[in-house]
């Protein structure tokens, strides 16, 4: 009796191969987690330390940075202060983001409705691969097409150089359209089929069902799609830089050359010396970008939470 109990205990306490594998699995996935967290914290910390140096080391006031209209970090103005006004770029970034989202949203939702509600078969066969293809095109290609088609067209229609926020919006519209579309499709797909059936069985037409039931129920998801599109537009650098004109000036009109946070960063970052004010000022722009993408993420989270509560 005693012996068999001991045997059983031994068997049960034995460290089997499966148990060892389990420990290994935990170690591997936990270290992956640590790595990711370390990278994120590292990036935020690095950008913050560099970006904040403008204010703490170079003693630029935050207000001058955010509201100043003249960007020329190497030069000091009449009062002896460096010209690091980032308002033109912040304005440029926001304008181009909001405009492209405003233009893209109706097209994206319309496409998504067609793909998911009106013609699911054709949608799946034709539009799905097309949107996926659009996502996969590198941004330099978009920028190049913008440079050789959109900019001359803008120049021909509105005069001026053709570079500016309008051209940037046109390029970004095409770039964020697939993102917003495919996320809108997901949002519509998440609306339970029985909502549609209930509505149709009550005598609603298909359009009434889409408009009054499906789109309403999908609103949080659709808003998330738009915010994701805006985040992409806000962070896009290369294509925008190629068509916006890169003049760090307050945009007087949509067809004047102007700039965004990202375009100034990509054009300027190679021409400055680490530790100099010029360099730190660029890091401050990067910090603004980083904070804004955090804000976009936060908005997406908030919308998601609100959607769940419904």
């Amino acid at each position: 009796m005693m012996k068999s109990t001991q045997q059983l205990e031994q068997q049960l306490k034995r460290h089997s191969k499966a148990a060892k594998l389990e420990i290994w699995g935990k170690v591997v996935s936990f270290s992956a987690l640590i790595l990711i967290v370390a990278v994120v914290v590292g990036i935020i910390g690095f950008v913050a330390s560099k970006g904040l140096a403008t204010f703490f080391t170079n003693h630029v006031s935050l207000w001058d940075f955010l509201s100043g209209k003249s960007w020329n970090p190497g030069v000091t103005d009449a009062n002896g202060k460096p010209e690091v006004g980032a308002l033109p770029m912040i304005m440029g970034s926001f304008l181009i983001t909001v405009l492209s989202a405003i233009v893209a949203t109706p097209f994206a939702i319309g496409t998504a409705v067609f793909m998911n509600e009106i013609s699911p078969n054709k949608g799946a066969k034709i539009l799905q691969p097309v949107t996926e293809l659009l996502v996969g095109i590198p941004s330099v290609v978009y920028g190049f097409i913008g440079l050789s088609v959109v900019v001359p067209a803008t120049r021909a229609i509105f005069g001026g150089s053709g570079f500016g926020i309008l051209s940037g919006t046109c390029v970004l519209f095409v770039m964020i359209l697939p993102t917003v579309t495919s996320m809108s499709v997901d949002a519509l797909r998440a609306v339970p089929r029985y909502y549609r059936e209930a509505s149709l069985a009550l005598g609603a037409t298909q359009w009434q069902t889409i408009y009054k039931v499906v789109l309403r129920a999908a609103t949080p998801g659709l808003m998330t799609a738009v915010v994701f599109g805006m985040a992409r537009a806000f962070g896009e650098a290369l294509a925008v830089q190629m068509v916006i004109g890169n003049a760090a000036l307050m945009p007087g009109s949509l067809v004047d050359p102007s700039s965004t946070l990202t375009s100034v960063l990509t054009t300027g970052i190679g021409n400055t010396v680490m530790g100099s004010l010029q360099n730190n000022a660029l890091w401050s722009l990067a910090l603004v970008l980083l904070l804004m993408s955090l804000v976009f993420n936060l908005i997406v989270r908030l919308i998601g939470r609100k959607g769940r509560l419904q």
Binding site: Y194, L200, A201, G203
Partner: protein, 274 residues
């Protein structure tokens, strides 16, 4: 054993036994003629010609996959984009299975309640007002009145009258299903189609729902698909037994349950198969 089997008289059993309702007080309101339903090339309903008596409850029973839900959904053309339905569906003398029929207007007269309670993510009030507003009723007094009478008819008014503006998603399963019934009758249909309306409900809610249906038959003609044979026995006047896309037996409920003429029906209602 051998003897008793013989005595029960399998020889007298019929292959198919259809007795259409003939009751002058409850004339036929809806009937199907030469109805066939196809999913692609597969025929889902091959023999389904039934007449439904007005202001009565007709139960459609049969094993899973027998086509009873498909049949029901064809009656108000909910299968339009899913299946091909041929033949005639005569509603008060009009064939509603023609392309020229306005299905949206037709569905106002032939309402439907589904297996799973499916209120919209709106308030209780807005759920019921939904179809009315779509039809252009905007008068607040009129809406209030219809919401109240519909909820009363569905036996839900007393439980929700103080919470009309609360979300319908907060209702219990039984309440939500009665809300769906109230929503369906708010547009004052003639016929109410119910597709296993109690299958997601607990016994108490089921019993309340059955009481509600018995009340409703004064004003509506009801066709109900059910898996629950006791339920069919409790509430329906007529019962149709479906098997493999065919109606094998149709008669008064008491006949179907006490004296079935078809062997498979007999097996099914006595619980030997299905």
């Amino acid at each position: 054993m051998f003897l008793s089997n013989d005595v029960q008289g399998n020889t007298e059993m019929l292959e198919r036994h259809i007795v259409q309702p003939a009751d002058a007080e409850h004339p036929t309101i809806l009937s199907t003629e030469d109805l066939h339903v196809y999913y692609g090339k597969k025929e889902a309903i091959s023999e389904g010609d039934l007449r439904f008596a007005s202001n009565q409850i007709t139960a459609l029973i049969g094993p899973s996959g027998s086509g009873k839900s498909t049949f029901l959904r064809s009656l108000n053309r909910m299968n339009d984009r899913i299946a091909t339905v041929t033949g005639r569906i005569m509603y008060r003398g009009v064939d509603i299975n023609q392309p020229s029929i306005d299905v949206y207007e037709m569905r106002r007269r032939v309402g439907m309640v589904f297996q799973r309670p499916n209120p919209f993510a709106k308030s209780i009030y807005d759920n019921i007002a939904f179809a009315l507003r779509l039809r252009g009723t905007t008068d607040k007094h009129e809406l209030d009145e219809i919401v109240e009478t519909s909820l009363k008819q569905a036996a839900l008014w007393n439980q929700v009258k103080d919470d009309l503006n609360k979300s319908a998603l907060a209702l219990s399963g039984g309440q939500a299903q009665r809300l769906c019934i109230a929503r369906a009758i708010a547009v004052k249909p003639d016929i109410l189609l119910l597709d296993e309306p109690a299958s997601a409900l607990d016994p108490v809610s089921t019993s309340q729902l059955e009481d509600t249906l018995l009340e409703l038959k004064q004003n509506y003609s009801i066709i109900i698909v059910t898996h629950n044979m006791q339920q069919a026995g409790r509430i329906s006047e007529y019962t149709a037994f479906f098997n493999q896309g065919r109606v094998l037996e149709y008669d008064t409920t008491s006949h179907i349950f006490t004296n079935p003429q078809v062997q498979i029906t007999s097996d099914y209602v006595s619980g030997n198969f299905g």
